[in-house]
Subunit: 195 residues, 4 copies
Amino acid sequence: MARGRRVNSCGEKSKKLLMENAIELFSTYGYHQTKISDIVKSASLTQPTFYLYFQSKEILFNDLNKRFHNELTEIFSAYDINGKFGIDLIQESLTLMFNYFIENPNLTKIGFYEAEQSTAVKEMLVSELIHILNTQLKDSNVLKQVDTTILAESLIGSVERLTLTNLLTKKTSPEQLAKEICMIYFATELSLVQS
Amino acid sequence: MARGRRVNSCGEKSKKLLMENAIELFSTYGYHQTKISDIVKSASLTQPTFYLYFQSKEILFNDLNKRFHNELTEIFSAYDINGKFGIDLIQESLTLMFNYFIENPNLTKIGFYEAEQSTAVKEMLVSELIHILNTQLKDSNVLKQVDTTILAESLIGSVERLTLTNLLTKKTSPEQLAKEICMIYFATELSLVQS
Amino acid sequence: MARGRRVNSCGEKSKKLLMENAIELFSTYGYHQTKISDIVKSASLTQPTFYLYFQSKEILFNDLNKRFHNELTEIFSAYDINGKFGIDLIQESLTLMFNYFIENPNLTKIGFYEAEQSTAVKEMLVSELIHILNTQLKDSNVLKQVDTTILAESLIGSVERLTLTNLLTKKTSPEQLAKEICMIYFATELSLVQS
Amino acid sequence: MARGRRVNSCGEKSKKLLMENAIELFSTYGYHQTKISDIVKSASLTQPTFYLYFQSKEILFNDLNKRFHNELTEIFSAYDINGKFGIDLIQESLTLMFNYFIENPNLTKIGFYEAEQSTAVKEMLVSELIHILNTQLKDSNVLKQVDTTILAESLIGSVERLTLTNLLTKKTSPEQLAKEICMIYFATELSLVQS
DNA sequence: CATGAATGAGTTTTCATTCAT
DNA sequence: AATGAATGAAAACTCATTCAT
């Protein structure tokens, strides 16, 4: 049967196609339930083509996770976000992060929930948050009563769950969700400000 | 090794041994990375023996998850917990749950984090919590400002993360963790009470 | 759990029970689809008990076949059957054989259809039949036109199929079936006799 | 051996090779005694290659049987065979069938003797034969004395046995065997014609 | 005499990966 | 750049058989 390069084929296009389909499948079925044969089938390519662009299934998966981790780090660690401070800075950071999640829903499912590396991602978020809390909210009421680390871990836990149940399902918008979370966590500060 | 029955062997003991090793391995390496050969090896038994007690790896895993789900349901859904009400009831429920987690750390890792069924478990917890909020705290300040469902999802997210980072690592005790979570979520109510 | 000899248990009884259940299962599901675990389950006994009475599954199966072969040989090779001659002798032999089949339907299914050894059984029948034809019917019309061996093989083929479809299903009685077969095979002789 | 594609390899060739070796082995040793490892070994291929072309051993076996059944149905059910009638039609049909058997001896052994489905094949043949008898020979002498169904079953039994002992062993030619069978079954009609 | 408990030795099946074209 | 064909390595699972009690 006919073999060799297809008309209209183009390296970069094939690579992108494979990657997108891989993300989709990994996020839907998980790493182990996604076979290379599934990926290439949904990209209408063949298995050797996969190995033309990716060294192995595992390396592709890890690369995807690194990408997620990096892009997230970049967003969250921009310390002077639109010139905001205090709770506003947190709310703005969350909004930016949620927007990134909404724009990359499948990559988020992988990097935030599916991968072993998700642990590292969340640890990074927690330490970024701790940093903000320490620098921006050290005199707040909340932190007088609750351990900073616990507060940070708790908030990231909330983010984790609400992203899955309310954000990616489009029940709540990025802005709204960021606001609600701040309301939950900093109600005491906000009420003082508002009054 | 010779065939047939071993000296001092006993069915129930072997079954329990296999189950415990399976829980340990599943919780450490995950379902897919745990091979039946690993389980029986760590129990010093053979593969056929595994099938003597469990129909398949998948069924064992599901049974483990059902057990976790059931035991958790029982704890959390005892509506009149030690005659407590309002926030106290929530704090008491969390304490009981955290105690169960501490007593079954590996099963918790499986049923709360590893399994597909963990989704159902958390949904159950969320709806139990919503019920409590609706019946016990409907006039609270928090719920005036935040959507009940979002609050419940958020709190379960916090539980999820803090269990992993602070409870199972023994950084925080069940009682303390329950208290901190209530502090975070119901600071406004508590301060009113306290003042 | 309780082990050891049951009340009311008795060696010979258990052996017979096992054998009968084995015959039933072998005849229904075939040698390979019948597992020792099936046999002992349907006899309400255990696997080691099986090995108390039979050396192995294969040996039991072979013994069953030998028994069938021997009992059949005895019947068919009784040369002076009730003082009959010619076609009557054949008809009488068939009747006796069919009666044996009816009395041992499951053993027949095994020894005549299921076993590799069934080849030998049928060869034996063919050679017995050839002997009868040669000694009793050598001047018959049929044998003038048809090769004796082919006639014998054909008749045993008929016996084989009709036993399965008409005898063991009780559609036709042993006597009637023997008669019909003789009618088919020796019509020309019989009509001469009758006219 | 090195992995990947072999020199000069070709899918269809491998598939055919596997199928032929499977037929050979199934017919010689039976379904259960034939392991996939045997099939691929005799085709000088590996187990995964088997699954490249066949879903499972059982499905391959069933497909082989369907093929036999279909090809046989086609031959036997061609009602106007070379413009023949009556006994000639039967003789011609048998000849065609025997020729098919001779050309496909191993498939015949499987589909006619080894498979569970052989029951269905023979039932089909019986009902075809009954149809012919009813339409072409309803006034014959034989059918006055013998039940049509019994005659048909008997004849198919003869075919079954003689195919194995005389046809596939090449002791008798297709034409000769068909003739002999007709002689046995329709001697009375033929003698009338001949006289 | 009988059993509960266990295993050796296979069997089918899957899947990431690689060669020749 | 891409593919058809193939495979190594390992997975889950089965079953006749055997030991200790």
